[in-house]
């Protein structure tokens, strides 16, 4: 009788150990994420609001250097048979004014809204906004429901339709999760500019802290007339456009 009790106790103890082990395995990715976020030694500050000013007058319709730089930096180099299933974190849009025929060209990406609809609708909170205004997807808890893709007024998000093997170690991507422009957060946290901005030789993109009076973007946005795309939605976008 006591033997059987001991056996049962042993079994229960082993089960508890296994359960704890499994629990750790389940939680561990989350812990890693927190470590990664603070890897640069400081957390994102709410005093900062990162933004981007794009001058469509300087953006050439035949230039897509920003798109190429984004793909290289973020490892978006996979081959996809159906082009409609290909991820595009940044794309060039060519516009023609219907009444005048005037043309414009500009890059479009996640607008890093202050009130992002993707964050509102995400059932698990995987879509989130950092304190400094950068909108990201936590790929540990994204379940791939694509509600955020339905809700984004800028069609800025892409879905991981297939398994990937060409990721940049600093930029987590994968099958079954939604992804979008991160403002190259891995670079920004190191004090660098996003890859697209650095690649733009026409000077059409200014990146910086919208709250910092000493930043170029802060000054420029007060000198020129700029607009937010779908300003009617009052999402307070971090990306502004000049010249359209």
């Amino acid at each position: 009788m006591s033997d059987s009790k001991n056996t049962r106790r042993g079994f229960l103890a082993a089960s508890a150990t296994m359960a704890a082990g499994l629990g750790f395995v389940a939680i561990a990715p989350g812990i890693r994420l927190i470590e990664a976020a603070s890897a640069q030694g400081k957390l994102a500050s709410s005093k900062v609001r990162y933004g981007l000013l794009i001058d469509s007058n300087k953006c050439k319709s035949d230039c897509d250097a920003c798109v190429g730089a984004c793909a290289t930096e973020n490892g978006i180099v996979e081959k996809v048979a159906n082009p409609r299933q290909r991820a595009q974190w940044i794309r060039k849009i060519n516009l023609v004014e219907t009444s005048t025929g005037k043309t414009h060209s500009l890059p479009m990406m996640c607008q890093h809204c202050a009130k992002p609809p993707c964050v509102d609708v995400c059932p698990t909170g995987a879509s989130f906004k950092r304190a400094d205004g950068i909108v990201l997807v936590d790929r540990h808890i994204c379940i791939g429901c694509r509600y955020c893709m339905m809700a984004c007024p800028y069609k800025a998000r892409s879905f991981g339709h297939q398994a990937l093997t060409t990721q940049n170690p600093e930029v987590p991507r994968g099958q079954g999760c939604v992804e979008a422009c991160t403002f190259c957060v891995q670079r920004v946290d190191r004090g660098l500019k996003p890859a697209c901005v650095e690649a733009c030789t026409n000077g059409a993109m200014i990146f910086g802290d919208l709250n910092d009076p000493n930043s170029d973007i802060y000054k420029r946005i007060r000198e020129v007339s700029s607009r937010q795309v779908r300003a009617d939605l009052k999402l307070d976008t971090g990306v502004r456009y000049q010249g359209i």
């Binding site: 409609r84 009444s99 414009h104 609708v121 995400c122 994204c142 007024p153 879905f159 099958q175």
Partner: protein, 401 residues
Amino acid sequence: MFTPNFRYKEGPAFYLLVAAGGLVAALGVAAAYYMEHMGHIVTNMTNQIPWALPHVFAIFLIISASGVMMVASIGTLFGKNVYKPRARLACLLAIALLAAGLSVIMLDLGRADRLPVALTHLNPTSEFGLNIIFYPTFLTLTSLYLWTLMEPRMNRYSKTVDLANLIWRLMLTTGTGSIFGFIVARQAYGTAVLAPMFIISSFAWGLAIFLIMQRVLYGWSNMTLDLAVLKRMKNLLGIYIGAVFYFVSVYHLTSEYYAKQGDFEHFILIGGGIFPMLYWGGFVLLGTLLPLLLIFHPRIWPKPGAVTTAAVLVIGGALCHLYVLIVGGQAFPMEMFPGMTATSSFYDGAIEHYVPSLPEILLSIGGFGIVFTIAIIGARVLNVLPQDDIAQLKASGSLTD
């Protein structure tokens, strides 16, 4: 006719019905496994149309789950005696429909393996997030209500539980309608009329499913439904069909009124290829006018087959309507730059074309397989078959027009 302790006879019919439903469900699960393994690259869903056929079916099933319970409430809450014996079957169908709808939507997730994440992380501003509360509570209330119906000592609580469930269902379907109602990005959505439209649709679609399953179960049991009972139910279906058509018309007319929506309405109703075809041919003609004719034309009645046909057509029309709303709403390009035409490698400004792939079709239809299998097994093990005491109904005046 009235057999209070009715039980089904053992026979091959039960196993055949379960095998048929199980096969369709199994094909759906196999398709989901294939999609999970290979990724959504094997589907025709894209970055332009991220929600497609599985969402059409899943939303149909979930909405119908809420609506079918009206059959029960009409008896329990509103005191219509004809509907009282139908409450148990309504509960069973509601549970089956909800289980099927949730299965389809969960199996379509990019990371279906992260279901526990969805259950443990709740974003209260998300309609999807709130559904994590809405759906299990609906399931619990419906099960509780079924218990109050089946356990004589609990009978006295059935009205209270059903009232709570009715209120909860109205909230749930409002929430499901608001999944689209709160989307401001696209022209097709972002309107409050979607919530009441989904509620009235749920009544029609739920009743249609009930009528079909009632017919199947009666056929299986070699029983005949009294025509006076059927007449009341088919008349109610007719009223629901008219009400759905009213709300869908209001949705389009209000949208048409705003100049900025004109292009979208033209696309959906006239120039958009498959979408106007599905709207006018599928929803209006086959899903609304023809069922109304079958239900109300004096020369067609009394033919029980006509009512079942009408119910099947209502379901077909519902799927067409949801397809137009969900897929059509995404196929029309988002207008980011009013007054300008846009082109890009990401298909900005372009009308999207979508044809469902085989895995999507199998997963979607698999939902119906799940409903059917659960309903047949449930009807076998539970005493849910509606049985009418016609003499008593006539004596109480419940069958007068």
